[in-house]
């Protein structure tokens, strides 16, 4: 097995991660094939937790698949679907099967998903989840009860450098870092100046930053514009550019951004997402000169 995600991240190497969605149903074959293709090209594999509030298989099952195939998973944990009891017990269960890297997120609102009448739980928020996970790692549950054996966890959080306004986002990021986030995976970035502004703020801390790179595709252009993808803030001129772009052009746009980030030495790595086009991830990396 390759170096752990934590080791890779602290080694100073420009880290490459991606994320996959779990299946809706029991069919793990396609996913297993995809993991096989990606495992030697990425340093870590994120596994989403009911992405977009769409009911899918719990991420720990796919994380285990990743571990079996020899690639280190980052399990996303959304506060949307579980209360503080369930969140903690799931963290313990995940750690028990070797899942160490946890990305603590609020979770897209249930309105975007396929169970719109579900109760959005949000018993605790992402800042609390980080605090709780850190406490578990230190041997205490959220109520202060001692644990018999504590989980080894490497904790991360999300942030959106494209958020408008940015300032409230930065205040929250500071809280996440203080609560125990060792790494940040950003929402997809499109404007390098926004990422610079963001990095200027967080670089005072020791947190590692993995910038989000999203493959934009013309067939989704209208959805970028109307806010169908929460947290995905694509500038209008880029949406126009994507509308008429062929596959090569789409890859190049993502690749150019990777090059720009890497050459400016802005952050510690990138997190590439290409929902529905995951097989293109190695080519996106190539386009980015990786």
């Amino acid at each position: 097995m390759a170096r752990s995600f934590e080791e890779a991240l602290t080694s100073g190497k420009f880290l490459i991660a991606t994320s996959l969605d779990t299946p809706k149903g029991m069919d793990l074959e396609d996913l297993a094939r995809l993991i096989k293709e990606l495992k030697d090209v990425v340093d870590a594999l994120g596994v989403s937790d009911n992405p977009h509030a769409m009911m899918c298989m719990s991420p720990w099952a796919v994380c285990r698949l990743a571990l079996e195939q020899g690639v280190e998973p980052i399990m996303h944990v959304a506060c949307r679907d579980r209360n503080r009891l369930a969140l903690q017990s799931d963290l313990l269960a995940a750690a028990s099967i070797g899942i160490k890297n946890i990305l603590c997120v609020s979770g897209d609102h249930v309105k975007f998903g396929d169970h719109i009448d579900a109760k959005p739980v949000h018993d605790i928020d992402s800042v609390h989840l980080l605090t709780v996970a850190k406490a578990l790692a230190e041997g205490k549950d959220m109520a202060g009860n001692p644990l018999k054996g504590s989980p080894a966890l490497f904790l991360g959080a999300t942030a959106n450098p494209e958020a408008d306004p940015l300032e409230p986002q930065l205040i929250k990021v500071d809280k996440k870092i203080k609560a125990g986030a060792s790494f940040l995976v950003t929402h997809p970035v499109f404007n390098i100046e926004n990422l610079k502004r963001f990095m200027n703020h967080v670089k005072q801390s020791k947190v590692k930053v993995i910038a989000g790179i999203r493959l934009l595709v013309p067939e989704e252009a209208s959805k970028y514009k109307d806010g169908s993808y929460p947290g995905l803030l694509v500038p209008d001129d880029l949406i126009e550019e994507i509308k008429g772009a062929d596959t090569g052009k789409c890859m190049k746009l993502a690749g150019d951004l990777i090059k720009e980030i890497k050459s400016a030495n802005l952050c510690d790595g990138i997190h590439i997402t290409a929902p529905g086009h995951e097989e293109k991830i190695p080519d996106i990396m190539k386009a980015g000169g990786l």
């Binding site: 609102h109 959005p120 800042v127 605090t131 959106n160 409230p168 809280k175 806010g227 929460p230």
Partner: protein, 225 residues
């Protein structure tokens, strides 16, 4: 105040079906102010029902009465000075859920059904418009959030700042809705109290929310022992 909305007309028709003599009972407080269940709305609903039932030749007698408040026994007692409740098969109440329940308690031998869906605790923004402002969480954080409630206004009820979905200061779920945390940030900045936002707020204490909640004023304890 409590803000409510009339149920769909067909649902109300269904709720009263089979009754021959109905009392529509209005409430003159919150639901009168939000134009859902006051004297005027009772009159409109009575007329609508009379006509709708008349169209299908159903012979139903419908009376109207509006009292000051249905959430207070003192006012409910007045009903009997005005009508004989036993004359009616059914009481259709246009009060909030609290009023309907107290009415059912007092007249526990009568069928009492709601004509409204109780929706939120809110404020009047202007004539004909109300917005939700409070979730009655029993653990108020408004001092830390510039007088803007994230539990109510943020679609996810986040207490420590915005999610990543803020879109030009609007909420990810609806471009018409303000992002609560953008409002809070701007307000705290204006007040010179951004340090309030920099401190992490603890998780909500759901143990302080009793369901169903009950308060006995200290000076009145003896009566309820």
């Amino acid at each position: 105040m409590i803000v409510a909305k009339r149920k769909p007309f067909n649902e109300i028709k269904e709720l009263i079906s089979g009754s021959k003599k109905i009392l529509i009972l209005g409430c003159g407080t919150c639901v009168a102010v939000c134009l859902a269940g006051g004297e005027k709305e009772v009159a409109i609903l009575a007329s609508q029902l009379k006509m709708a039932l008349g169209l299908v030749n159903e012979d139903v007698e419908i009376d109207e009465l509006t009292i000051e408040r249905q959430c207070d026994r003192e006012f409910i007692e007045e009903i009997s000075t005005k009508v004989n409740v036993d004359d009616y098969d059914l009481i259709l109440s246009t009060a909030c859920g609290a009023g309907v329940q107290l009415l059912s308690d007092v007249f526990d031998h009568k069928v009492v059904v709601p004509a409204l869906n109780t929706t939120f605790i809110g404020v009047a923004e202007g004539p004909g418009m109300w917005t939700e402002r409070c979730r009655s969480c029993s653990d108020c954080v408004l001092a830390d959030t510039g007088g803007i409630c994230p539990v109510t206004i943020c679609a996810k009820g986040l207490v420590n700042g915005p999610c990543g979905g803020t879109r030009h200061g609007k909420c990810e779920i609806d471009p018409e809705k303000d992002c609560a945390w953008t409002l809070i940030y701007n307000r705290l900045k204006k007040l010179g109290r951004l340090n309030r936002m920099e401190q992490a707020l603890p998780p909500k204490r759901y143990s302080v929310q009793q369901y169903p909640a009950k308060i006995v004023h200290e000076a009145y304890r003896r009566r309820y022992e």
